[in-house]
């Protein structure tokens, strides 16, 4: 499965979380806040290389730094 960093998706695009390329602490934090393996995320808002807003599974919104979003690998395939 081809995966891309969440940060390069455009507004309105979404994908399934495949892996999180971060240290254990941040990874576990992200998984607990809803970025579980296989969960669906959609990019709602981007601010250049600033923080982005994503929507998780159509129910909650999370603000992420650009760096953090770059560590979340997603696949846009079904």
């Amino acid at each position: 499965m081809a995966s891309t960093p969440l940060s390069i998706l455009d507004e309105g695009e979404g994908g399934k979380v495949i892996e999180i390329l971060a240290g254990r602490g941040l990874r576990q934090r992200l998984m607990a806040i809803g970025f579980g393996p296989g969960s669906f995320v959609k990019v709602l808002k981007k601010t250049g290389h600033g923080p982005i807003i994503v929507e998780l599974k159509g129910c909650c919104k999370v603000g992420l730094g650009f760096g953090e979003a770059s560590k979340i690998m997603v696949t846009t395939e079904d």
Partner: protein, 676 residues
């Protein structure tokens, strides 16, 4: 009749699930929702009364998981393990089921006897979610009670379910971690049972095994320092063997299995519309977090807040002022007529009425400020402010979430410093704590308002105060940058923040928040500041026979001893004294003026001061007050949050040096510009 056993019920749940509201509903609403504007970071307790059962309700901090990634998570987890509450009510947001159940599953794994309050059912329904509650309860193996906490729906059912659960606890639960991991977990479990019996008894061997595979730092540490002769290399070998199947990422596999279990449960008992339409929340966010509009909008909101606080508060301030004035002059004439000794007169009029009255005058402003902060928090805007400011903050060694602590600091630095706990990176957290003392809290604001209105025309007074707020921002940014760069260098901290849906804050919650915090301010005036006021009076009135507050009194001697240090800044000895007492609490600075400049029969205190000082001296005094050592309460909380006196000493030292240097510079600039 033997006394009934007192039940212990803990409340757990994700942030923004209505936990504080539920806590209030359970405890009868008369308990305060957290002492401080920093929200539920401290343990709060209340009492439940229901039929003839009574229970202690303990509100745990809002958390996302039981991995001690943040201080809050560690607090909650340790409470559940150490105090083993009879029941843990887990508040679950029905409109956000998957993520919320992630915590529920972990609480069950921890062996907590949980009852789920399926909260915000109205929101879920309005979005077209259909939840089969009975099925959910069956699949999770715990009672599930639908509630709408802010309308007090379902509370009785929840209490009944919790009391029933206390009688027949259900603590067994495990997730199947799959054919690869399970054998490793079993092996590790056996090892733990053999070598760390005590820990196994307390936490459960399986839970410890899973946590070790997740490489939970706290549990690993506990295992290593267990009294039982645990063989460290052997243990390490086991964990590595278990983790090896997935390389470094056994924790991802474990989280994945938990989510897989949850997804199965949710699929089985919830129906939701295929396409969620853009909500009002989305539309507001589009505007509020816009790259160009975000920051100006935020500044405009802050400006409006301040205008509201001072303009709307003013009539009430004047009302209290004239009331106190009348009280003090009638007291004065009463004592003059009754012929009581001079010291009784000075104690009552100058000491107590002067000391406390001048502080109580600011209650309307403080109340409005707390109300404004509560609205920003409860509406969901605060998280957006952090989001909008993150990039700018990062440039100055701070974090988006530092910004929340700065805003809260305008109310009081104590909760502000506590709210820095949500910053996971320790270095960023400490920098945030260190610079927070430069945020002018409401007590310092009271001093500014007092002096600005004494020395400057009303049109200018507002700008004078605004200039101090700007100065504090400049100092926060510069010192944040320096501290982060030289004192606590490290990589940029991750920024992850949940943006809860916007809500119209419930008036009941706003009133509760605002009143409990304002009451704290008032009770401080009634106890602590009263004590300091009497102390100042005593020092000003003795040794016997000296003129009140004169250079020969104890206080005069103290002030003169300090004068060499503070004289270059243009303060007289009375000003120096006021600053010393300001260490107790900044409002005391005003009280001290009230006592030191005896004003009986000479017009207002402000008029007396305006004759003795020049506007420039007053301004420099305000600058010094803004920066120098925060009050004792703030120092105590810095000790608590940083865990070391070293940072307290550093804060005291840097703030004194900085206060002196900046004040001196401002004075010289003022002289250069031709002011006296």
């Amino acid at each position: 009749m033997s006394p009934k056993k007192r039940l212990k019920i803990a409340l757990a749940g994700n942030p923004n699930t209505g936990k504080s509201t539920l806590f209030n509903a359970l405890t009868g609403g008369r308990q305060s929702i957290g002492n401080w504007p920093g929200k539920t970071v401290e343990k709060k307790t209340g009492k439940l009364k229901h039929g003839n059962a009574s229970a202690d309700i303990i509100d745990l901090p809002g958390i996302y998981s039981t991995t001690p990634y943040s201080i809050e998570e560690a607090i909650a987890r340790n409470f559940i393990v150490e105090e083993s509450p009879d029941v843990v009510i887990d508040i679950v947001d029905a409109s956000n089921l998957e993520r919320n159940l992630y915590l529920a599953v972990q609480l069950r794994e921890l062996g907590a006897n949980i009852v789920i309050a399926l909260n915000m059912m109205d929101v879920a329904r309005s979005r077209g979610f259909k939840i089969d509650v009975k099925k959910l309860s069956r699949l999770l193996g715990v009672p599930v009670v639908p509630t709408v906490a802010n309308k007090k729906e379902g509370i009785n059912g929840l209490v009944d379910a919790a009391l029933k659960a206390a009688e027949s606890p259900e603590r067994d639960f495990s997730i199947d971690y799959g054919a690869d991991l399970e054998p490793k977990i079993k092996e590790l479990q056996d090892h733990i049972c053999r070598h760390a019996r005590q820990l196994a008894g307390k936490y459960g061997a399986r839970w410890l095994a899973v946590k070790l595979i997740e490489r939970d730092p706290e549990i690993s540490g506990k295992m290593r320092s267990a009294d039982d002769d645990i063989c460290t290399p052997e243990l390490e070998k086991f964990i590595t063997k278990a983790g090896k199947i997935y390389g470094e990422d056994a924790d991802v596999e474990i989280a994945g299995k938990r989510y897989a279990f949850i997804n199965g449960v949710v699929r089985a008992c919830m129906e939701r519309p295929a396409i969620a339409e853009a909500t009002a929340s989305d539309r507001i966010d589009n505007f509020v977090t816009n790259k160009y509009i975000g920051i100006p909008l935020f500044l405009a909101l802050m400006y409006l807040t301040y205008q509201l606080v001072f303009i709307a508060g003013d009539p009430f301030v004047s009302l209290i002022e004239s009331g106190l004035g009348a009280l003090s002059s009638s007291a004065a004439s009463f004592f003059a007529a009754s012929g009581s000794p001079e010291w009784v007169f000075t104690l009552i009029v100058s000491g107590i009425l002067g000391g406390i009255g001048n502080v109580l005058v600011f209650v309307p402003n403080i109340l409005l400020l707390f109300l404004a902060i509560a609205i920003l928090e409860d509406s969901g805007y605060m998280a957006r402010a952090a989001f909008v400011m993150d990039r700018l903050m990062a440039r100055f060694g701070l974090h988006g979430k530092s910004f929340i602590s700065i805003i809260v600091g305008f109310g009081c630095n104590v909760p502000a410093i506590m709210s820095a706990r949500t910053i996971e990176d320790e270095k960023y957290r400490i920098v945030t704590v260190l610079v927070n003392i430069l945020v002018p809290c409401s007590a310092r604001m009271a001093v500014f308002v007092f002096l600005a209105s004494a020395f400057f025309a009303p049109e200018v007074a507002g700008q004078v105060i605004w200039s101090l707020v700007l100065l504090s921002f400049v100092l926060i940014m510069s010192l944040g940058y320096l501290f982060k760069k030289f004192l606590l260098p490290g990589p940029r901290a991750p920024f992850v923040i949940e943006l809860p849906p916007y809500r119209v804050p419930s008036p009941r919650a706003l009133v509760a928040h605002t009143l409990s915090r304002t009451w704290l301010f008032i009770s401080k005036a009634g106890t602590f500041i009263l004590g300091v006021a009497i102390l100042i009076w005593f020092l000003a009135n003795f040794p016997e026979g000296v003129e009140y507050g004169s250079a020969e009194s104890y206080i005069g001697m103290l002030g003169q001893a300090l004068n060499p240090v503070l004289a270059p800044l243009g303060f007289d000895w009375k000003g120096s004294i006021a600053l010393i007492f300001g260490l107790a609490a900044k409002e005391v600075v005003i009280s001290a003026f009230g006592i030191l400049y005896d004003v009986s029969g000479e017009g207002t205190l402000q008029a007396v001061l305006a004759r003795e000082w020049t506007p420039l001296q007053a301004y420099v005094f305000m600058v010094f007050t803004l920066i120098y050592v925060p009050c004792f309460a703030t120092l105590a909380v810095i000790r608590k949050e940083t865990g070391s006196w070293r940072w307290v000493a550093f804060t005291v030292a840097y703030s004194i040096v900085l206060a002196w240097a900046v004040s001196f510079a401002v004075l010289q600039m003022g002289h250069a510009m031709g002011y006296a």
